[in-house]
């Protein structure tokens, strides 16, 4: 039960974070400025801060901060940190679905490695709890 709760927390946190990243990208696209330089930085800032997607993203980041603190109050940092790397898997999928981006084969290989790493971290969280119960 402990591990299921932890996994649920990680999944929700990473989903929210990935959505926030998607909203941030959408807010940068909405400005119509693809190359931010010194001469257009004021215009870029004005346009992006008047875009609702940016503020939805910021609000989601705030929610995530408390979810992260919740997670850290339950598991070690050296387990929680690798476990919450699902954004590297979810963001490319969201980018394909909603932004029409292309994902190269070498990137899929990287995503596969990350899945193995996240699973190992999850295994570690479960084992730690078992050991703590025995003690």
């Amino acid at each position: 039960m402990f591990l299921i709760k932890i996994i649920a927390l990680v999944v929700v946190k990473d989903m929210i974070e990935s959505l926030a990243d998607l909203f941030f990208k959408m807010s940068t696209l909405s400005t119509g400025i693809s190359n931010v330089v010194l001469s257009n930085i004021v215009e870029f800032t004005l346009r992006i801060t008047s875009n609702p997607w940016l503020w939805i993203g910021v609000a989601l980041y705030l929610v995530n901060f408390f979810l992260w603190m919740t997670l850290l109050s339950r598991v070690d940092l050296s387990v929680a940190f690798p476990m919450s790397s699902l954004t590297y898997i979810v963001v490319p999928i969201l980018a394909i679905l909603f932004l029409g981006e292309h994902v190269a084969p070498v990137r899929w290989a990287g995503i596969f490695f990350i899945i193995i790493g996240v699973s190992l971290a999850g295994r570690s969280a479960g084992n730690d709890k078992k050991k703590a119960a025995v003690r």
């Binding site: 790493g117 996240v118 971290a121």
Partner: protein, 124 residues
């Protein structure tokens, strides 16, 4: 790579990792919460915002973002993303030495798989 860029990268990594150590130090004082009701959550948040280490972590995170923007102004994103994999190794080592967390084979393997994976993602 210029000396300025290397300095900024090391500074950014230091800020990011120290922020996480601060968050964890703060979170270790929040272990008694059960999260069975909405009231538990509001109590959790109320207690969390009163912990100085949490605010120190937030401040360090803000500095890290500012340094990161300076780094991105100097290099391409495809060169900057592999740096993400460095945090994972630093967090693993730092958690063991500063927070006295156990260094198990699963944690080491998890860290290296993810760091390698991020490197490949950045290559693609």
């Amino acid at each position: 790579m210029s000396a300025k860029l290397i300095f900024l990268i090391i500074l950014g990594e230091l800020f990011i990792c120290t922020a996480q150590f601060m968050f964890k130090t703060g979170a270790n004082r929040l272990k008694n919460h059960k999260f069975d009701s909405l009231r538990d959550w509001t109590n959790f948040i109320k207690q969390a915002v009163r912990i100085p280490a949490v605010w120190a972590g937030l401040a360090l995170n803000t500095f890290a973002v500012l340094v990161w923007i300076l780094v991105l102004a100097l290099v391409d994103l495809s060169l900057a993303i592999p740096l993400d994999s460095v945090h994972y190794v630093l967090i693993l080592v730092g958690s063991h030495f500063f927070l006295k967390e156990r260094l198990t084979w699963e944690r080491v393997a998890a860290t290296f798989f993810i760091a390698g994976g991020i490197f490949l993602v950045a290559l693609g």
